[in-house]
Symmetry: C2
Subunit: 225 residues, 2 copies
């Protein structure tokens, strides 16, 4: 639980309350943590692994809303507002996740103002992130959107070498990557082809080789004629 830093603001006694109530479980890759539409029975804290939040449309098309990493806490929105989960959570790889029931969470929020503030900080960051995506989806051309996505994914899933090159393991299938930047998977495939042709990056399965990160970053610059 040490790594779940949202909860690190708790004092000794509060930490005991938490420890008594939390329930840890291992989820296999691809396993559903909670489905969309379920009522919020409590919160989930990602201890290890990776989790994806996705929402499916009435038409059946799904959009990947967020990738969640260790230390982050899920599901307190529905708990606080008493609504059902607007998105479903799914483990992207084998993950350890703690569940804390609603009454315990409410008790801790009541006792320690800092816990709520931690949540608030995180939620604000997520809001900023979502708004960033709204702007980008509205204004940038597709190739630029994808280049940006690659750079973002690099922070968590990539390794940079001294010579300016980098390697990256994509945590998601093409379909989901495409949904993140609001395009179809076929279009993404073509964009990948073009990036490869131009020597910006090369793709093989889920691994991406980037010969020169600076070149990739130049993709983000305003389209000078």
């Amino acid at each position: 639980m040490r790594r779940c830093n949202d909860w690190s603001v708790l004092c000794e006694e509060e930490a005991r309350i938490l420890a008594a109530a939390r329930h840890r479980r291992r989820y296999a890759a691809g396993e559903t943590i909670y489905p969309m539409g379920e009522p919020g029975y409590g919160v989930y804290c990602v201890c290890s692994g990776i989790v994806a939040l996705r929402r499916v449309d009435t038409e059946g098309s799904s959009v990947l809303l967020q990738i969640v990493y260790p230390g982050d806490t899920l599901g307190y929105e529905s708990l606080l507002t008493g609504t059902r989960h607007r998105s479903g959570a799914e483990a992207l790889r084998s993950s350890n996740i703690c569940h804390i029931n609603g009454t315990t969470v409410r008790e801790l929020l009541e006792r320690n103002p800092n816990l709520g503030l931690q949540f608030l900080k995180h939620t604000s960051a997520k809001l900023a992130d979502a708004q960033e995506r709204l702007v980008q989806n509205a204004t940038l051309p597709n190739r630029m959107k994808f280049a940006h996505l690659l750079l973002v994914l690099m922070d968590r899933h990539g390794t940079r070498n001294d010579d300016g090159s980098a390697r990256l393991h994509l945590p998601l299938p093409r379909e989901d990557l495409a949904s993140m930047i609001a395009i179809r998977r076929e279009t993404l495939s073509r964009i990948m082809g073009r990036l490869e042709r131009d020597g910006v990056a090369s793709f093989s399965g889920r691994t991406v080789a980037i010969p020169n990160v600076a070149t990739l970053m130049r993709e983000l610059e305003p389209h000078l004629i």
Copy 2:
């Protein structure tokens, strides 16, 4: 200040602290409350009027992120995270807005856990809203997106009649409406024309007449062949 219900959780003494520190001001329509990129010196509480949050791209294209109504509080994200404002705030019509400096806000957040929880609830709602828009922009056809936007605006800016018709005053120019659903203003103009041709709504300046709300809602149904 009664209407600013985020702050209604404060006790007598805390309310006095707030009253001593807050600074009220009137903003004219079109006036900037804070520009994008400014550091967060405190929070703003909308007492009356309407405020828009917009973000401008490096290319100069602007996206309208949110319409803010009385009772809501702005700008605590930058305050909490110590970053600059990611979006600018602008009064859409003549508005009364209170400013509360950062140290006072922090003091109150420290003293009363419920204030932070109020902010958290609101921020969660905004996050859900932003994600909703992400999904819609990604999956729905343009005409459907606009129909949905009209219905959302109706809650705040419209009046429904007994016979199923309704009237609506748009709070924004076409350009901004278009940016909310990630299309160009010319495209929006054409969509309006088509809705008018189909008898769904008629537009004249900023007023919209909707002969039958049910017909408008039917626009949202999955495109049955």
